[in-house]
């Protein structure tokens, strides 16, 4: 068990360190997110009576698309360097590789969100930074990372992999977006988190259920 956790930690640190040096994934996601916000701002500017109405949708759409960008890159760099094989040579259950990568992806997306949230506050003139909201965003991000990581491993071995990842991912993570948006709407209107209990449950079930499935099926995705 300790070995298992050590391997997860080692992979996580490796990914974080590599990312800190190259900043590939983060820059891509951050710049894309900023551009998306800009475009969405203009998309709604003249048609919506109050720009703050679209904030929930804008937040989650931006996060979703930026995440897909980042998730795609995570496994592509391993595959292209062939280093995935190096990870698979580790004498532990391969789900450790999944966990390490998933946690690394989670951190990358969370960091981009820390960048996106203030931008939204700026562009849309709305107060967004509150603990309940951050919790909701974090839970939703977990869902994105859980499914996105294994799908990224899946698509990296296919033709047209960059196109395939969003096509496979988006229908499945729709509940995350729906819950996220619904809860954001509620929170912005001043509802306490307790009132949104149902949605919170849904998100939690999503996260846990898919984590379990990913655990069980990751091996089949990376074996040859």
């Amino acid at each position: 068990m300790k070995r298992y956790l050590q391997v997860i930690a080692a992979i996580w640190w490796k990914d974080v360190r590599v990312e800190l040096r190259s900043k590939d994934i983060f820059t891509g996601m951050a710049v894309f997110a900023a551009l998306a916000l800009l475009i969405l701002n203009f998309a709604f500017e003249l048609r919506v009576p109050d720009k703050r109405m679209v904030v929930p949708g804008v937040l989650w759409v931006t996060v979703a698309f930026a995440s897909v960008l980042g998730l795609g890159r995570a496994f592509i760099s391993e595959k292209d360097r062939g280093s995935l094989a190096g990870l698979l040579l580790a004498p532990v259950d391969r789900s450790a590789v999944y966990c390490g990568k998933m946690l690394a992806n989670l951190v990358f997306i969370l960091v981009v969100e820390l960048f996106v949230l203030p931008l939204i506050v700026l562009f849309f003139n709305v107060s967004l930074i509150s603990l309940p909201l951050l919790l909701v965003v974090a839970l939703g991000t977990i869902g994105l990372a859980v499914v996105g990581t294994i799908f990224s491993a899946l698509t990296v071995n296919t033709r047209a992999r960059e196109v395939l990842l969003p096509i496979l991912l988006f229908p499945i993570i729709l509940p995350v977006l729906v819950s996220g948006i619904r809860m954001t709407i509620g929170l912005l209107e001043g509802d306490p988190l307790s009132k949104l209990g149902n949605w919170l449950q849904l998100l939690l079930i999503f996260d846990i259920l898919y984590l379990a499935i990913a655990f069980l099926t990751f091996d089949y995705v990376v074996e040859e």
Partner: protein, 236 residues
């Protein structure tokens, strides 16, 4: 009981049968070189041994244990130098080795890493990013990486590809040092002389089967060349 026992090994990718019944017994401490044309299945064979690929049929046993029964345990005893170096460009040589040391749970990693880096002559450049290394240096580091957990079995897939003759010489010397110590080595290469120099047993894999298997002392280069040409040129 041989250390590695391969029986009736088959591997097919869809309709394309790469390995068509490989039988091989490798004694502990022996050093084998495997020649063969491209596409003969050398890489596939090595990948199956390294548990990166599942056989379609047949059995592979290491120390009596079927690989499929306990792949995680077997991986502890294997080191693989593959086509790709399996190293991270954005990390330094030292950091790369430390990562792999962690993956394998190596005890006292710092001492081990230093020993390895000195062995392959990269200690002075340990803090430099792999991105800046020449191909020869990368290969040397890859060998260090494969040895970080001191595996009794070392698999090398064409480790001399892309190396200039001088670098290849350095690598051969390195491999000779490393191959001693009762380590079992299985290497594939396209270079006849180098392979002969390093091994005590010579095999040729062609058409998915072992078509030649002899002690290195029993064959000379001139014996082997025509055989090799026939199988490689024939591409059966």
């Amino acid at each position: 009981m041989a250390l590695i026992e391969i029986e009736g090994l088959e591997k097919a990718f869809g309709r394309h049968r790469v390995l068509r019944g490989v039988h091989l017994a490798i004694e502990a401490g022996s050093s084998l070189v495997l020649f063969g044309p491209n596409g003969a299945g050398k890489t596939t064979l090595l990948r199956i041994l390294a548990t990166l690929s599942r056989p379609s049929a047949g059995s592979v046993r290491v120390a009596g244990v079927e690989i499929r029964a306990n792949p995680e345990g077997i991986r502890r005893y294997l080191g693989l130098v593959a086509h790709m170096p399996l190293l991270y460009d954005d990390l330094s040589a030292w950091e790369n080795l430390r990562f792999y040391a962690r993956l394998y749970g190596v005890e006292r990693p710092e001492a081990r890493i230093q020993e390895l880096l000195e062995r392959v002559g990269l200690w002075p450049r340990r803090k430099e990013l792999v991105r800046t290394f020449s191909r020869g240096m990368v290969q040397r580091l890859a060998i260090a990486r494969a040895l970080v957990h001191n595996p009794p079995i070392l698999l090398l897939d064409e480790p001399d590809t892309g190396l200039d003759p001088q670098a290849a010489e350095m690598m051969t010397t390195l491999l000779r040092e490393v191959g001693g110590n009762a380590r079992t080595v299985l290497m594939t290469t396209h270079h006849l002389e180098r392979g002969l120099a390093l091994a005590d047993r010579v095999l040729i894999l062609a058409g998915g089967r072992i078509v030649f298997d002899a002690e290195a002392t029993a064959v000379s280069y001139s014996d082997l060349r025509p055989l090799y040409d026939r199988y490689v040129a024939g591409g059966v």
